[in-house]
C-alpha cells in the first residue's frame, strides 16, 4: 500500500471513529502539477486525499483559523517537517493545544520521494537536530550571500526594486501560520504606524515589519515566498532573521514545543557588541 492509500484510510478511520472532527490534507488541483488544500469531514471525503511530492504547502496555517479549535475537538492535518515545526512554534506561543492536533506526517526527499513520518502527536516528533542542520536551498543561500556582500546602498536599491512591486495583497501574511494576529499592525489606525498605501515607502515599512515580527518565529516553510504574486524573495529576509537568532542567541525556532519565544525571553549575557 502506498503512502497515499495508507493516509487516506488512516484519515477515514480517524473520522469514522470520531477521534477528529476534520482532516486537512491535499486534493487534486486545477492542473496536473497543482495540489489544493482539501477538508474532509466524512470518511468518504477522505478518499479524495492526494499525497505526493507536489504537496508542498504548509497546511498548519488553517489550524489558527478563528474558531476552528475553540470547541476543544481534534483536527488531523497532513504536515511535512516544516509544518511540524510550525506546530511547535504555535504551541510554544500558546496558540494551539498539543492534544487537539493529530499529525499525519510525511517527508519529501529530493523533491520526489515521499515517505511517511512515524508518530501522530507533536511529542512523537523530534525534529530539533534536523531543522538546526537544515540549510536553505542553495539558490537562497547564494542569493543571501550575494546580498551580504553588497554595499548598504546596493542592498537598499535591491530591496527597493523588490518592494516597489508589492501590492499589499497580504498574501504573505494570510498564508503564514505565524501571522495569526486577529488585528494586524497594518490594520490598526489609531495610530496608523504603517501606511496602508502601497507606494514603495509603505511597502518598505510593511515588509520590514512583517519580517521583524517573524524573527525567531519563522518555520522556513516558504509559503510567503510562494504566495507572493509579484515574486518578492521573502524567503531571503526570513532566512537572514533566522540566522541572526541562531548566531546571536543560539535559538532555533520550532525545535520543540517547550521553547520560550526568543523575543519574549532573554539572558543576562546576551551579546551587545553594538551598544555604545
Amino acid at each position: 500500500m502506498g503512502i497515499q492509500e495508507q493516509y487516506r484510510s488512516e484519515a477515514a478511520a480517524l473520522l469514522s471513529s470520531g477521534e477528529v472532527k476534520l482532516v486537512i490534507g491535499f486534493g487534486a488541483g486545477s492542473t496536473a502539477d497543482r495540489r489544493r488544500p482539501l477538508f474532509a469531514r466524512t470518511p468518504d471525503e477522505a478518499q479524495k486525499f492526494v499525497l505526493d511530492a507536489a504537496c508542498i504547502a504548509n497546511l498548519s496555517t488553517y489550524l489558527v483559523t478563528e474558531g476552528l479549535l475553540s470547541d476543544g475537538k481534534k483536527v488531523a492535518v497532513f504536515l511535512k517537517p516544516d509544518g511540524i515545526r510550525s506546530i511547535n512554534i504555535l504551541i510554544s506561543e500558546a496558540q494551539l493545544k498539543p492534544e487537539q492536533v493529530v499529525i499525519l506526517g510525511y517527508a519529501i526527499e529530493n523533491g520526489k520521494e515521499i515517505t511517511p513520518l512515524e508518530g501522530r502527536n507533536i511529542s512523537d516528533f523530534s525534529i530539533g537536530e534536523q531543522i538546526r542542520s537544515l540549510t536553505p536551498p542553495p539558490h537562497i543561500l547564494q542569493e543571501a550571500e550575494r546580498i551580504e556582500e553588497m554595499s548598504a546602498t546596493e542592498r537598499f536599491e535591491f530591496w527597493k526594486e523588490h518592494f516597489a512591486k508589492c501590492i499589499k495583497c497580504y498574501a504573505c501574511r494570510q498564508v503564514c501560520p505565524m501571522c495569526y494576529c486577529r488585528r494586524c499592525i497594518v490594520d490598526v489606525n489609531q495610530p496608523q504606524w504603517v501606511s496602508t498605501s502601497s507606494h514603495t515607502l509603505g511597502n518598505f515599512e510593511w515588509n520590514l515589519v512583517r519580517a521583524f515580527h517573524l524573527a525567531g518565529r519563522c518555520a522556513a516553510c516558504g509559503a510567503c515566498d510562494r504566495a507572493c504574486p509579484v515574486n518578492i524573495p521573502l524567503r531571503l529576509v526570513n532566512y537572514r532573521m533566522g540566522k541572526e537568532v541562531i548566531d546571536a542567541f543560539d535559538y532555533c525556532a520550532g525545535e520543540n514545543s517547550n521553547q520560550k519565544p526568543v523575543l519574549a525571553s532573554f539572558k543576562q549575557d546576551d551579546p551587545e557588541t553594538f551598544i555604545l
Binding site: 548598504a152 527597493k160 518598505f204 537572514r240 523575543l263 555604545l276
Partner: protein
C-alpha cells in the same frame, strides 16, 4: 545646496536613565549638538521598532535608542528584552540596506551626563559626514507626486 547640511537626529530614550542623563548634561551646562530631538518613553522595552521606522519616514538622518545599563532597568528587565529586539532589528535593517551607522543604541545612566553629551556630539559629527539619508527620504518625496505607476 547653499545651506550646509544639518543632520536631524531622533533619540528615543527611557525616562529613568538616559533622559535623566540628558537632564544632567543640561544642568551641568555641558554643551551638545542641538541636532537631536529627544523622545522620552517609560522604558526601552516600550521602544517599538515602529518608532525607528516612523522617525526615518519623517526625515530623520540618524536614530538613537538609549536606556538604562543592563541590570539597572526600573522595570527589572525591560532593557534586556529591548536588547534582543534591537539585535534582530539591527540585522534586519542592515540586510535591507539601511546603514548601521544611522541607527545607534546605547546605555546611558542618570549619572552619565557627560557620556550623553559626548555621544550626541559624536553621532552628530558622524551623521554630518554621512550626509542626509536621501535614499530613504526620496521614497517620501516620490509619494507626493502623481504618477501612473
Amino acid at each position: 545646496m547653499s545651506e550646509p547640511f544639518e543632520p536631524k537626529i531622533v533619540a528615543f530614550v527611557c525616562t529613568y536613565c538616559t533622559y535623566a542623563g540628558a537632564d544632567l548634561a543640561g544642568t551641568s551646562r555641558l554643551k551638545y549638538a542641538p541636532n537631536v530631538r529627544i523622545v522620552r518613553l517609560p522604558c526601552t522595552g516600550r521602544i517599538s521598532p515602529m518608532f525607528i521606522l516612523k522617525a526615518l519616514q519623517k526625515g530623520a538622518d540618524s536614530v538613537l535608542v538609549s536606556g538604562c545599563h543592563p541590570g539597572d532597568c526600573h522595570f527589572t528587565a525591560g532593557n534586556y528584552h529591548a536588547r534582543r529586539r534591537w539585535t534582530v532589528f539591527r540585522a534586519l535593517l542592515a540586510f535591507t540596506g539601511i546603514p548601521e551607522e544611522r541607527i545607534r543604541f546605547s546605555w546611558v545612566s542618570a549619572a552619565e551626563g557627560a557620556k550623553f553629551a559626548e555621544m550626541i556630539n559624536e553621532i552628530t559629527d558622524e551623521t554630518r559626514k554621512l550626509g542626509p539619508f536621501t535614499q530613504y527620504q526620496e521614497l517620501q518625496k516620490v509619494i507626493e507626486t502623481q504618477s501612473s505607476y
